[in-house]
């Protein structure tokens, strides 16, 4: 598992959390549910809390069928035991407005991800180009995933179940490689050095 040294000085403050009124949903789930789920999973930090957590997810998913609950439990187990290796998919070329790429593993894009395009991976996302669209790393709830881009100026960034919106403006100034990762339930962006 690739992990960044987290005692690096964080130059940037945590990005503002997405408010539910933005109306984003993930595979048809209502936004409220995602946030509940995110909260529930953030609390699950040790195995002793696992049972409690499972209860919570079950409660929040009353209306959902069994398979969804199973998926969630599977997600939590995966998270607890931390995936140590990913397969990775390489894509050469720009992803343009309206294009969508999803992969069970890590994604490496040799090109730009333009505004309106979306990349989603259960593992990490590396973009050797500019990220101007939406990236979702660790989309099965893995908050150990990270997003790297030579120019990290996305519309929106998601890691695990955490969604952030990037601050408006200064989008053209940024040209340095950066990566985004999760710590204490918040997405941080640090320069890659």
């Amino acid at each position: 598992m690739i992990t960044f040294v987290t005692d690096n000085e964080k130059k940037n403050s945590p990005l503002e959390d997405e408010s539910p009124d933005i109306g984003l949903s993930q595979k048809g789930q209502p936004v409220e549910k995602i946030i509940e789920q995110a909260e529930a999973e953030n609390e699950a930090q040790s195995k002793s809390e696992n049972a409690q957590n499972a209860e919570k997810t079950e409660n929040s998913a009353d209306s959902n069928n069994n398979s969804v609950t199973e998926e969630k439990i599977k997600d939590i187990i995966e998270k607890e035991f931390s995936i140590t290796e990913h397969t990775a998919k390489f894509h050469k070329g720009n992803l343009r407005n309206g294009m969508f790429m999803e992969y069970d593993g890590s994604l490496v894009i040799l090109g730009d991800v333009n505004a309106g395009a979306e990349v989603k991976a259960t593992g990490n996302i590396l973009i050797l180009g500019a990220l101007k669209g939406i990236a979702h790393a660790g989309c099965n709830g893995n908050t150990d995933a990270f997003v790297f881009a030579l120019s990290l100026i996305p519309v929106q960034l998601r890691i695990g179940n955490i969604i952030t919106r990037f601050p408006d403006g200064d989008s053209k100034v940024n040209r340095k490689p950066e990566y985004a990762y999760v710590e204490d339930g918040k997405i941080y962006v640090s320069p890659f050095e």
Binding site: R96, N114, A115, G116
Partner: protein, 265 residues
């Protein structure tokens, strides 16, 4: 063998029809045999811009449905030898034609010994767009230096690549050099950086376009028109000649000089 060029943009109102008319005229003036095809069924405009509206008898849908022969529907432009227009139907919609039928139509036009077949694509990415690009060999993407138009152009380029029409060329329309200088408008470099495709021409925002469009005579025919000059340059580039991109220099009027003086101070 003729070349089929589709003029597309995604967003409406960026100048697809104007560009089609001007390039068609320009190529005809250069001595080529050109067919302009209006693929915007139900919202036809190219005939109006060309000033040929009153001569329509048969249209594209009639040809496709076999109600008339191709030659009957082609309107010959009397002003320029070798320029023909195939108008769209106004009372039908985009579903009246299928991509396969358009492909066949393009092949038939090539058999008529046209050097260039220019297809004016409708706005949007639905049936009309799919029809328009079906028979094309090459695509020109028109955009204006606005965020919305550039976004749509990006989507269109992606769709063109997915439909085996790679390497489209870009026409940047309605550029206002004064605004670019002030930093209020995206420059050519800004747009090409986002879209990452070759630029084939930059057309300045020009009053003469409106005047000429209303007259039904494309601006490319007017010597003094800046936009006309830009379209003449694009025509040359389509023909394979290397023409440098136009440079827009503000005329040094007394007021501009005065303004510069103040800025320096």
């Amino acid at each position: 063998m003729g070349e089929v060029i589709v003029i597309t943009s995604g967003k409406g109102g960026v100048g697809k029809t104007t560009t089609s008319a001007n390039l068609g005229c320009g190529l005809a003036i250069a001595g080529k045999k050109v067919a302009l095809v209006d693929a915007d069924i139900g919202l036809r405009n190219l005939d109006v811009v060309m000033g040929l509206e009153n001569r329509i008898v048969y249209d594209l849908v009639d040809v496709v449905e076999g109600k008339c022969r191709l030659k009957q529907a082609l309107i010959k432009d009397k002003r320029y030898a070798g320029l023909y227009l195939l108008p769209a139907a106004q009372t039908r919609d985009k579903d009246a034609v299928s991509p396969e039928q358009m492909q066949k139509l393009c092949e038939n036009l090539k058999e008529e010994e046209f050097d260039y077949i220019i297809i004016d694509c409708p706005a949007g990415i639905e049936q009309g767009f799919k029809n328009a690009i079906a028979g094309a060999d090459r695509a020109l993407v028109v955009t204006t230096p606005e965020v919305s138009a550039v976004r749509d152009a990006d989507r269109i380029i992606g769709l063109l690549e997915a439909n085996e029409l790679p390497n489209p060329s870009l026409i940047l329309n309605r550029v206002r050099p004064d605004m670019v200088d002030r930093g209020d408008m995206m420059s050519m470099d800004d747009v090409t950086e986002i879209l990452a495709i070759d630029i084939i021409g930059v057309v300045p925002d020009d009053e003469s376009i409106v005047v000429q469009t209303n007259k039904g005579e494309p601006a490319v025919t007017v010597e003094s028109s800046k936009a006309g000059q830009a379209y003449r340059n694009i025509t040359q580039r389509i023909l394979g000649n290397d023409v440098p991109l136009m440079e827009f220099k503000q005329e040094e009027t007394f007021m501009n000089k005065l303004k510069k003086l103040f800025h320096k101070g």
